[in-house]
Point group: C2
Chain length 244, copies 2
Amino acid sequence: MSRRRQIYEGKAKILYEGPEPGTIIQYFKDDATAFNAQKKGTISGKGVLNNRISEHLFTLLGHIGVPTHFIRRLNMREQLVRQVEIVPIEVVVRNVVAGSLAKRLGIEEGTPLPRTIIEYYLKDDALGDPMVTDEHIAAFGWASQEEMHDIADLAIRINDFLSGLFAAVGIRLVDFKLEFGRLWDGDFARIILADEISPDGCRLWDMTTNEKLDKDRFRRDLGGEVEAYQDVARRLGLLPEGNV
Amino acid sequence: MSRRRQIYEGKAKILYEGPEPGTIIQYFKDDATAFNAQKKGTISGKGVLNNRISEHLFTLLGHIGVPTHFIRRLNMREQLVRQVEIVPIEVVVRNVVAGSLAKRLGIEEGTPLPRTIIEYYLKDDALGDPMVTDEHIAAFGWASQEEMHDIADLAIRINDFLSGLFAAVGIRLVDFKLEFGRLWDGDFARIILADEISPDGCRLWDMTTNEKLDKDRFRRDLGGEVEAYQDVARRLGLLPEGNV
Ligand SMILES: Nc1ncnc2c1ncn2[C@@H]1O[C@H](COP(=O)(O)OP(=O)(O)O)[C@@H](O)[C@H]1O
Ligand SMILES: Nc1ncnc2c1ncn2[C@@H]1O[C@H](COP(=O)(O)OP(=O)(O)O)[C@@H](O)[C@H]1O
Ligand SMILES: [Mg+2]
Ligand SMILES: [Mg+2]
């Protein structure tokens, strides 16, 4: 591997300068954090699985016309992506009540939502990623109203597609987090899907048993994290059948 | 005073059955609470001032065509209002960063907002009035999208009017809380302004000195609560000039 300049080290990934201008390399670590990094650990093999799962989902989303940063996977832990200016908003799409929503609104986890909810959180670890609305986003200029319109539209399309994809393999897509970025083309910026989609940022429940196949296993000390991530990859056809 | 049926006792007011069907009496207490009623106290004379200030503001808002529950003041502590079905959402309008917004977003209190922000909080003491968005409100049916449209429109009009009114008497309207209700007319419900508008639910800062003329004096143990409320009433022309 040639020597590369590291751009950023986050909680789950490292970004390196890519081979061409405007590209970067996402390296997927095994590090896991929860509760705003108050809880830290390692899930051995997670990075490999997330790299593969995210590649798969971004590729399929590209096929339905969702613009994404994904270019190609480079190796077990790395993928080449288009560098974007990340919109500092975590977009959470919810189909079933779980996690912080259950707690905040006093609704039992597992209650199906009468309709899908999109939530926005300011991407700011120091502030604990506070929930914000279109109002705050517009007032502080974190994204334009046109950009937020594109983001909401894409979030809904991604939710519909992924809900179907996971349903086909016996998994309920409870909720998930997305990040979007601006791809500049001269003076014009286009919103594209960035970051990753993996069990780190999704709640995935087995449709029959309600077993959690996602990072909640780590958050809640349930154990079997890597087996759950492997199960997701296997159901998506990303692991040889023998590999359970 | 005739014997009347008490309908509800809240943190700052008591509701009694009104003389005619569809009316109720709001009795303004001197009780003050803060931080979701973890802090309790009394501000002697507050109820009288809030009754008078709220009467004044609701009357003027009525004149510009904002539909309100206010019918007439009955005495020092009571006003007759139209009974409504309260929309369980506290509507907060912000012009300047203060309070929970300053804390949540890490922005210095007193920073003018680039544009007005409307926030919604679920009216649920047990849950600590969690912030919600149009998304949650629509999903759980707490108000229809048409109702939320009316509410947002009214909130903006009320903000513009009150900002002007307070500016004229040297007061900056930093933020304030509104409650709306449904007035049923057969099968049709109209959204009208309910509850109260008073220094209990507004942040009012002297324009020159930034002195706080509102419940933050109580929340932050600054003292001089009733003098501050009196100052607001006096500036609005509601107290004889001699009464400082
Ligand atoms: N295409 C991209 N261009 C630039 N930055 C990106 C892109 N995709 C993701 N990122 C950013 O790279 C970082 C990924 O590392 P991660 O460990 O997830 O970080 P964090 O701890 O901030 O969540 C995130 O900050 C994410 O916003
Ligand atoms: N016109 C109205 N009809 C019915 N209820 C009202 C009306 N105006 C205000 N209310 C309700 O009356 C109560 C006022 O008492 P308050 O002490 O402010 O209560 P709380 O502790 O719930 O804030 C509030 O619950 C408010 O929603
Ligand atoms: Mg991340
Ligand atoms: Mg109240």
